[in-house]
Structure formats: C-alpha cells, structure tokens
C-alpha cells in the first residue's frame, strides 16, 4: 500500500465494486439555509483534504475603470479580519503543514487550503470569518497595491505574448466585460481606492454567492455540519447581478497588431462560440470541445501538416474553454518556422480551417479524443486539488457540479458531421479576430551588453 493509514471505507468500496470504484461519481451536494452551496467528494487515498471557497465574481463582473478589482480584493483577503491579524490565517495554515492560496479568473475568485484532514474544522472557521469580517485598512492596502503593480509588470509587461493576448481579448470583445484583463489595466490598478474594495467585498462576498468544495478523506455529512457551524452563521444578502452587457454581433474580421522586441512573430485567431452556459444547445459545446482536441496536440491535423509536413509552423495549438460565463472563444495560436512570414502562416491556417468544413474528420480521430478524455478522467483523480478545481470551475458559472462526471459520455455522442456543422457555423472570417505579434526590429539588449553573458561588473 502507498499510505499505511488507509481507512476501512476504501477497502469496502474496492471490495464491492472492484476497480470500478474509480469510475463512480461520489459527489455529495447540499445547500445551507443561507444559500451556501456545498459539494463534497470523498477521496480516501490520503489523510488529506482540500477545502476551497469559490465566489461568483471575477474580471468579467467588473465595470470599466475598475478592472482587476476582484483580483486586488483577493490579495486583500489575506490582510486580516476583525479578530485575526493580517497574515495570521496564512501563518496558522503554515503551522498545520498546509498549503493555501487563492486565484482569480474572469468568472470567479477562489480560496483554498490543502491540509491534514484533522484541520478541516479550523480552516473552515477561518475561511468563513473572512467571508464576513474582512478588515480593509489603508495601511494594509497601499503596500499590497504595490505588490499587484509588480505582479502586473512580471506577468504582462515583460512578456509580449501575454500583452498580445490581453489586447486580443479587448479586441474580440468590444461591448462585453469579457474584454477585461483579470489582473486589470495598470491605470486602473493605480487608481483603486480603499472604498472600491470595500464596496466590491460587500457586494459579492456572501454565502449565497459562494460554493464550498471539499475533496478528500472526509464524511460529507460531517462537512455539512461543520459548514452550518461556520459559514452557516452568516446571513444571505441581496446579490445584485451586473447589468447585462452582451457582446455586439461581430460583422467582419477584427485585427490587432502588437510590435515588440521579439525575434519571432506569433499569431492568435479567435472565433466567438458558445459555452455550456451561453449555448442554446449543449451539443454544439461538446462538438466544439471534440473539435479542439482533434485539431490540437501531437496527433492533431494541424501539427501533422503544418509543423511536420509543410514545415510552415514551428508550433501550433487549438484551445477552447467550455465553461465561460459570458460565452467563449475558439482559439488557434501559432508561430511560423524561420523564414516563413506571418501572413503566409495565417493564410495556411485559414485554409486548414476551411478544410474542416469540407473534409470530415475520421471516426478514428474522434475515437482517439475519447480514449484520451476517458483516461484523463482517471488521471485527474490522482490529485485532490485537480478534482476540486474541476468541480468549482463548473459550479461557479452555474453549471451542475457533476458536469465533468458526465463529460466523456457527452463527448461520445459527437459525430464527424457535427464537427463540420459547428465549424461552418462559427469558424468563418466574419466571426474572427486576429492578433499578431510582430518583431519591432529592436532588441532588449542594450548595445553595451556582450552576447557572452559579459555585461559590466561592479
């Protein structure tokens, strides 16, 4: 055995259902009177539990001028409550031997701790405390804003590909807040007021706007009991959703270029497509998801033809995220091989996209995607954190907690004809945004620098 403290429960489970145990969804769902949604998944392989609190707020909830405020607030959530000193939560989790952090996306803000299971009650108490009792002060806010400024410099300003993606999104989405960068525009970061953070906290941090996800060696009923005693003490509040700001209909290609000191150009193509949240028919989402997988990766037609055979691209990929709250984009990204110009790469990529519509994918290519998806479902269970993530990301945009449990079965229904149908419907140039990163011809290395790591010494 891997871990010697394995519990009786697991033995029983394996005895009754053999290895099938791994395939059985073991989700337990509940809701407290104050509206808090709870999802628990048992995983008894190790005496460990991951505890995550997901709030339904993120960059695509933010108004212009306040971009990144969800992320800034996420930072401030570590700065203490009425009864806990700044940093005390983190210190306590550290003493437990736990790991903790938080992350913000366009669709949600989430906080997590991974701890020995005997510490679950205490982290729930502390997490519930900062759901309701956060203490926001100027003294804590000012240096933390500086930290976020450094984070933006680090994550975006010195990385041309990140900059391109940020500007690409702001071009693909003109009227929808989906255009907002998660970390926020630099000017917005510099202009936040403490009151903005207080307002944002008061507006969104409430039990009825949150989901508790717990995965690990726990009893679901005990988790609900603990949740009642911790999160349960805070009342529901009125949550006023942002006004709808739908994306205007795209009627023709949009393009953006970014010039930077890079020796190699790159290109992103994106098409407006539905997500599981925005789709009229979920079938289209499954078809788009299969299509992205069929095209992507080392077996995909794009790598096979454009990288290996024609040697036009040095790398190429396809990406589609099915769970965007405000719809989604179907992305292609590529870099040309040396000596190939970016226009040629773009033209070839568009030819490949046209081919999807006229030449059906083989059933074998589809089967390959299914084999990978089925295996991935099992591999995903090697990590409690990954399991909790795949639940939280769905629930936080209003999708069922078991979305991933039925995912492969849904993919299995997709036919080659459906792939062609979604390609025809969505992957056309009037629905396309193009982002190009073009070498400016400059170099970041100043003339004094020597190529052999010389530099000046002092």
């Amino acid at each position: 055995m891997r871990l010697r403290l394995i519990v009786v429960g697991l033995v029983t489970l394996l005895a009754t259902s053999g290895l099938k145990a791994a395939d059985q969804p073991r989700l337990f769902e509940a809701q407290l009177d104050n509206g808090l949604q709870i999802v628990v998944k048992q995983d008894q392989r190790a005496p460990v539990v991951v505890h995550q609190m997901w709030y339904r707020v993120g960059a695509n909830y933010e108004p212009q001028g306040l971009t990144g405020v969800s992320h800034m607030l996420e930072h401030m959530m570590f700065k203490g409550t009425e009864t806990m000193e700044p940093g005390a939560f983190s210190r306590r989790v550290s003493q437990m031997g736990g790991r903790e952090n938080a992350f913000t996306s366009s669709n949600f803000t989430a906080y997590f701790q991974i701890v020995g299971k005997q510490h679950l009650a205490e982290v729930m108490q502390m997490e519930s405390d900062r759901m309701a009792n956060l203490k926001l002060t100027e003294a804590q806010f000012q240096p933390e804003r500086d930290v976020v400024i450094q984070e933006r410099l680090w994550a975006v300003e010195d990385r041309p590909s990140s900059k391109l993606f940020e500007q690409f999104k702001a071009t693909a989405y003109l009227s929808s807040p989906e255009r907002n960068p998660v970390i926020g525009w630099m000017a917005d970061i510099k202009n936040y007021q403490l009151a903005d953070l207080q307002d944002w906290y008061d507006r969104w941090y409430a039990p009825n706007n949150a989901t508790l996800v717990v995965v690990g060696d726990v009893d679901p009923h005990e988790v609900v009991e603990l949740a009642k005693q911790t999160y349960g003490q805070y009342p529901a509040r009125d949550i006023i959703q942002p006004r709808l700001q739908p994306e205007i209909k795209q009627q023709g290609m949009r393009r953006i270029e970014l010039k930077d000191a890079t020796p190699v150009p790159s290109i992103i193509l994106g098409f407006h497509v539905p997500s599981l949240v925005s789709a009229d028919s979920a079938d289209e989402v499954y078809a788009l998801s299969v299509l992205a997988s069929v095209l992507d990766g080392d077996s995909g037609r794009l790598t096979q033809e454009m990288v290996r055979e024609q040697q036009i691209a040095s790398s190429i990929g396809t990406f589609y995220r099915a769970n965007g709250r405000l719809g989604s984009q179907f992305f292609f990204s590529a870099q040309p091989q040396a000596g190939v110009d970016i226009e040629q790469l773009e033209a070839e990529l568009i030819k490949q996209i046209e081919r999807i519509k006229t030449e059906p994918m083989s059933q074998q290519a589809l089967n390959r995607v299914l084999a990978q998806a089925e295996a991935q479902y099992v591999y995903n269970q090697d990590s409690v954190q990954a399991q909790a993530m795949s639940i939280g990301m769905m629930v936080s945009v209003g999708l069922p907690a078991d979305t991933m449990e039925t995912w492969v079965d849904n993919l299995r229904q997709v036919t080659p004809a459906q792939l062609q149908a979604v390609a025809k419907k969505y992957l056309h140039t009037d629905n396309m945004t193009v982002g190009i990163l073009r070498p400016s011809g400059e170099t970041n290395r100043r003339p004094t620098a020597k190529p052999d790591f010389g530099g000046r010494s002092h």
Binding site: R45, G87, P143, V147, R456
Partner: protein
C-alpha cells in the same frame, strides 16, 4: 474563538492523530543491471513509469544542448514507426508519453491506464520508442531550426537571460554552467552523428533506472522492467562528474554582475554553490531555507521584501542539491527603480537570519514541514518523483520516513552552524538583468 473550533473537532471525532504517512518502496535490479524502484498503488487503475538515464546536460562535454536535443529526438521515429504513428499510438490508448532533461538526467515517462488491453500495447510502444529509436536527418534539421528559434526568443526574455547567465556565472568551467538546451551557436554546430553517439553511449541499461507507481503487482512490475530493458544495450556507467569549484576560491569578494536590458523589471538572482544530494547537512540547510525563503508567506524573505515593503510579487530561495554540489539561490523580480533596494533587503535578511532567528519561528516552520509531510506524498505523481530521486541519488530507502524525524531533532544551533559552513553572505554571486537603480 479557538475553543469553539476544538469543540467542533471533538464532537465530530476529528481529534488530531499523528498522520504517519509511509511509502513502501520496493527495489531490485533487472538482469541487465538496471535499478528498479516500485511502489504499489492499487487505488486508481493507472500507472506512472519513468525511465531515467544519467544523461543530463552535465554530460554535454563541450557541446551545450547535446543531451537535451538527443532526448528530444526520442519519440520522433523508430525503425518501424513514423513520428505521426508514434503520437497516434500513444493517444489511441489514452496514454501519455513525455521526456524531460535537466543538468543531471534525461527521463522518459509513460502514464497509462492499467487495463491490459491498454497497458500492454502502451508498454510495447514505450519500449520500442526508446530501444529502437531512429534519428532522422529531416526531423533533426527541422527541430534544430525550431530550437534555434526558441533560443533566439529566449535571448529577448529577461527571466530566461537571467536564469542562463546566473548558472554561467556561478559555475564557470563546470558542466553545470551552460544552459540545458544549449545556445544558438552550440546548437548550430550539432549534427545528427553527435546525437546518435550520445544515445549509444548513455541510453544503456547500466546507466538507467526505472521508477514505477501504480496499480500493478510486484510480479507484473518485475516483468515490465525486464521488458523495458531486454533490448537495451548493457553499456556502462559514465565517469563521475567533476566537483565544481566554489566561486569563493576564485575570488574573495562578493561579485555583482549587471546585464543591461530594456525591461520593465530587473530580474534578480543571488546565491552560491552549496551541497550535493545526500549531504548530511542538507536537512539543516533545508529547514533553515524553509524559514528564510522556501515556504511562501511563512518565510522571512516574503515578509521583508513583499509584505513589509511591497517590492515584489514573488521572492523565494531554494537549494538545488544535485549529483555534485548544486546551488543555493534567492530570486525575485522588481521594477528597475527598486532593484538596488530589493538587493539590500534580501542581503540584510540573509545576514540577519544567519546571525540568529526566533525560536518560535523555527518551531512553526518545523511544524509546517512535519505536519505537511503527507501532502508531499498524496498523489502517485508526487511519489514517483520522490522514489526516482531516491534511486537516482542513492539515498536510503527510508529517506521519506526519516526526513521529518531529522527535521524534528534539529536545533537552532545546528541549523545556524550548517548555514555558516556552506553559505558565506560576503561571497555571494549576484546577477541583475534589467536597468537596475
């Protein structure tokens, strides 16, 4: 408030007991002489296999990038199969094939479900891809172009430039000095014969190790290890690597190097050559570093540089013990006009820490390490990483169990003494890439 927590815990029977995680590592040698490490993990119907060779970039021998490129050619062609057929082969089975090269080792991995109709063909393919690898000139030329393009790109990326220049400055003539994937010039001068010779010299049974974690029996594991090595040439172990010469012997003052670079932030590293894997002082150094800069928000560097002064998003330090002495490194990135201040704070924090630190902080950080030990082994993938390391660096099989015990017993005086033996704050090598002010 705390009282109520314990009351809840008591009611639910969640009283804390000692979480004594333990990994049962089995080990043996195949008939070809390959060391095997295996952990049976029956809970999930999957297996992770890693085949590792002492064939990292330290074996490049004046041809930087040779080891890395050789490893990248594995999986591109075999006597029977094209690149596409190999990729399709793994993907059809839901299997994942991967490769990785660092300074000490080249590793190839397979992740598969354990259902016989998936695992058997996946293993056959894995075995074939390695033992019957054929290096094609066309693929070599194409991938060399791609690699050169990536290296050119890296020269405009401040973080990459800093990473490369730091190891270069720290290790001088030692093979750890050069970047794992080489330089534009060195890769341009490689040819396919060099790569083939490298494969024949190093990808041999006597120089290999197999690590496995998954839902198979010992008997299956033995068969599997035999199968992977049956067609592999026996070969021999390479000579031991030279010991690196600490910078402190070359000169007796701190060295700061600046590479002028047009970037928003200065990329900053400071450090020294420290210890190899298995060094008896490693426990004390590791524990001390966990407090200094290895445990995120619990560490002194984050407290001083980020929390108190808001100078950075991230600051950290770590030891990278390797086959021979690896470095201790502290790193951060900050706006150019704060770089000198950040440098000062890092060095003051290190000096203060090496003089003395709070007993309570030591107790807390011990509690973090010991209490968090099971979290380091809560997945097959993590266990695979550990047993592979234990085997490759000839650490004792009870290393994982013994580690927290060693940590528990260390006193502040022992931690400080170990740091003073290995780290001299007056002789750090510091590198900044940017326009530091």
């Amino acid at each position: 408030m705390k009282k109520s927590i314990y009351a809840i815990a008591f009611v639910l029977g969640l009283t804390s007991w000692n979480l004594q995680a333990s990994v049962d590592i089995q080990t043996w040698t195949t008939s070809k002489g390959t060391k095997v490490l295996f952990v049976e993990a029956p809970e999930l119907p999957m297996i992770d296999i890693e085949l590792k060779f002492d064939a990292g970039s330290a074996r490049d021998n004046r041809q930087p990038g040779l080891a890395s490129f050789s490893a990248n050619m594995i999986g591109t062609q075999t006597a029977q199969l094209t690149e596409q057929a190999i990729a399709d082969g793994f993907n059809d089975l839901g299997a994942q094939f991967g490769g990785d090269v660092n300074r000490d080792a080249a590793s190839f991995s397979l992740r598969s479900l354990t259902r016989a109709d998936l695992l058997n063909p996946a293993l056959d393919l894995f075995e074939q891809v390695i033992n019957q690898a054929a290096f094609s000139e066309t693929i070599f030329q194409r991938d060399r172009q791609r690699l050169i393009q990536r290296l050119q790109q890296a020269e405009e990326q401040p973080a990459r430039v800093a990473q490369r220049a730091f190891w270069q400055g720290l290790y001088g003539d030692h093979p750890y000095a050069h970047p794992v994937s080489g330089t534009v010039e060195s890769v341009e001068s490689l040819n396919i014969k060099d790569l083939e010779a490298f494969k024949q010299r190093y990808y041999v049974a006597q120089n290999a190790q197999i690590a496995m974690v998954g839902a198979i029996s010992r008997q299956q594991a033995e068969k599997l290890a035999e199968q992977l090595t049956a067609a592999m040439p026996k070969g021999e172990k390479p000579a031991a690597l030279a010991q690196p010469k600490p910078l402190t012997q070359a000169q007796n003052e701190p060295k700061t190097e600046v590479i002028d670079f047009q970037s928003a932030q200065t990329q900053y590293f400071t450090g020294q050559i420290a210890v190899e894997r298995g060094h008896p002082d490693y426990y004390a150094l590791f524990l001390g570093n966990h407090l200094l800069g290895g445990s995120g928000f619990a560490s002194l560097l984050v407290e001083e540089v980020r929390e108190k002064r808001g100078l950075v998003y991230s600051v950290y330090s770590y030891f990278a013990p390797m086959r021979v002495a690896g470095p201790w490194i502290a790193g951060l990135s900050t706006a150019n006009n704060q770089a000198m201040q950040a440098d000062e704070v890092v060095k003051q924090t290190l000096q203060g820490f090496m003089k003395d630190f709070d007993e309570q902080k030591l107790a807390d950080i011990k509690s973090n390490l010991i209490g968090g030990w099971p979290l380091r082994m809560d997945s097959n993938r993590k266990i695979l990483g550990y047993i592979s390391m234990i085997g490759f660096y000839d650490l004792p099989l009870d290393y994982l169990d013994a580690f927290p015990r060693h940590i528990e017993q260390l006193s502040k005086a022992e931690v400080l003494a170990a740091w003073q033996r290995h780290i001299n704050p007056d002789q750090l090598f510091t590198l900044m890439v940017g326009l530091p002010e």
